[in-house]
Symmetry: C2
DNA sequence: GCAAAAGTGTTGAAGCTACACCCATGC
DNA sequence: GCATGGGTGTAGCTTCAACACTTTTGC
């Protein structure tokens, strides 16, 4: 983070960070303020930034996420790269980029990374002018994100949906340490965009051998309390 | 392709083009000659090049492949991006890149694309100093390709292996117009790196409904001739 | 006639889907 | 006591793996 480390103004990282609030899948977005002398403009974008000249992509993703949100030790997975030359051609985007990066921007190819975190992780911001918030993934589809970030979120979603079949354990990263089977199923259904049969779902996950049954139950619910489970890495 | 169209020397495309000769999976590589005054050096690399400043990635992939091999109308799929800052740090690579691109090279992030073609397609080269050849994928693992191209080939392989389950029809792009079920099975097994049971395999592919049985048989084989099939898009 | 690959069915195991009722809790 | 979601088993169907012998052809 030294001030003299040169940027590569042609390549950036964008992080699609997903969370789950027990009901909806959420994505972490950062509010962006543009003062177009002074047309004023507020919108919302993915946490992302250009990379340093001598920086590996995975490394850059980790750094960018930490710098913009304070989130550390988050495994990030590259999923797709976006290089439409018009993706940063909106004057608003150019203005914002050049002010923020303090460098001339021509055209940026961005590498998309995806991460799954527990939604109650503390987010800290590096600037008073910004704020990060969780947005419903469904809402985001109808919002107008900065640059091509709608597309990036969509591709990120496709990517984690694909994980459901290939590595379903990734879901546990989105759940609290202790969770009920309903929470697990709702999350699964939310990502998969279809309702599972309750009994069949429980049969399926009982074969995963990574769930530990706890002697605890959820509290304060206006119905029979669900049993709590935790995930145990094998 | 005008001479004045400026390059973006920070982003490149590399194409992993696969073919199948009836027995082995092959990858298309380009011989590269370096004269290091005159240490002489010959090695082999993927068809790839830096992109133009105003060019979309998919567009660049199509152009680069056409320019370097004459292959047109080839669907290319992006599969992964490679950005280790040391990937082009070998002096040999720098020398070659700067001579070929006629521009100063600092560090290149490359976007990997994969394509599947029939192995008898005509390859034409744009220069007398280069030549393109098909290499056994297995051999390539033990060769020392330029830059990080061994890694890129490996990731490309993983990608098409994954296609077997998700979109198995892609295999037909690698086969001749008319083919036997053995050829199809050998290709499947080659990509999947395991032997299928003959009968089970035929049952599986009979459910695809994209195979048309022909009234023709292969010729000149020293055993019972296999029936020919063709692929019919639905 | 022999070497080499083509072609062809059945069985058992595992996994997937569909489906309905009683239970515990908060209000 | 009622509304809400928790928790539980079975039966039919589909899918997948394992397995061996006869046919055709070139030489």
């Amino acid at each position: 983070m030294s001030e003299t480390r040169p940027y590569n103004p042609y390549v950036s990282i964008d992080c699609v960070v997903f969370g789950f609030d027990g009901k909806n899948l959420k994505v972490l977005l950062i509010k962006r303020h543009i003062d177009e002398n002074t047309g004023e403009y507020n919108d919302v974008k993915l946490p992302g930034s250009i990379i340093y000249m001598d920086e590996d992509l995975d490394e850059a993703a980790t750094r960018v996420l930490a710098e913009l949100t304070g989130l550390k030790n988050i495994p990030l997975s590259q999923f797709y790269s976006f290089g439409n030359p018009l993706r940063t051609s909106n004057p608003r985007d150019i203005l914002w980029l050049e002010r923020t990066m303090k460098t001339k921007i021509e055209r940026i190819v961005t590498i998309g990374y995806v991460a799954l975190i527990k939604i109650n992780r503390k987010i800290t911001l590096n600037s008073k002018n910004t704020s990060a918030e969780w947005y419903d993934v469904d809402e985001v589809q109808n919002m107008n994100l900065a640059m091509d970030h709608n597309l990036i979120v969509q591709k990120g979603l496709d990517h984690i949906k694909h994980w459901l079949t290939v590595e379903p354990h990734m879901m546990f990263k989105l759940l609290p340490h202790k969770f009920t089977l309903s929470q697990l199923r709702l999350l699964y259904d939310e990502i998969n965009r279809k309702k599972s049969d309750v009994r069949n779902f429980q049969k399926k996950i009982n074969q995963w051998h990574n769930l530990v049954v706890l002697d605890e139950f959820e509290k304060g619910v206006p119905h029979r309390a669900g049993r709590l489970y935790k995930y145990q890495k094998k």
